[in-house]
Symmetry: C2
Subunit: 84 residues, 2 copies
Amino acid sequence: MSIFDEILPIYWYIDMKIEELGKLIKNRRKVLGLTIRDLADLTGISKTTISQTERGVRNPTFEVLQNIFEYLNLEMKVEVKERK
Amino acid sequence: MSIFDEILPIYWYIDMKIEELGKLIKNRRKVLGLTIRDLADLTGISKTTISQTERGVRNPTFEVLQNIFEYLNLEMKVEVKERK
DNA sequence: TACCTTGTACCATTATAAAGGTACAGATCT
DNA sequence: AGATCTGTACCTTTATAATGGTACAAGGTA
């Protein structure tokens, strides 16, 4: 039906690339069955900002990510990078 | 000698609060023995931005965090929040 | 006493994130 | 055909992040 019907991980790893972060947000939003308008209403963030953040065409602020993560039930962790 | 001589965790958890994120960055910078000027030179970010980000008095962009994390050898992970 | 380092305070300017509107294309309906 | 929904493409305006300079206070050192 769509790419979002595949088995979804409950854990994502982000290597600090803005495009990957956008894909993660869009994926998670779809999983929860929300539209961009829905998420905009929930967070109070404009649809423009959400759309562009999901596509990685803009550099969002921490506050924007904070709000989006809250309503997508996501949390961020920071670790010291392992040495290879 | 200072608060940074205590045993330091190799893992931090950030519950999306900008003040905590700032403390984490400052702590990590101190652990690596870097000054704000050092980090500014490494990342290309101004000392003003770094200082205010560490104190949580400003809302940094993702790009700024990306750069800081890179030179502090930190990485970000995103997880689905566990239900209580 | 200097002198140097570090971090913060303060300011003006520039760059750009965010908002909020309209319009449009594609898909999905009746 | 039309109507609706969704996401993107625009555009303008506003808010504010980021820069880069100076100055100053606290601390350490010679």
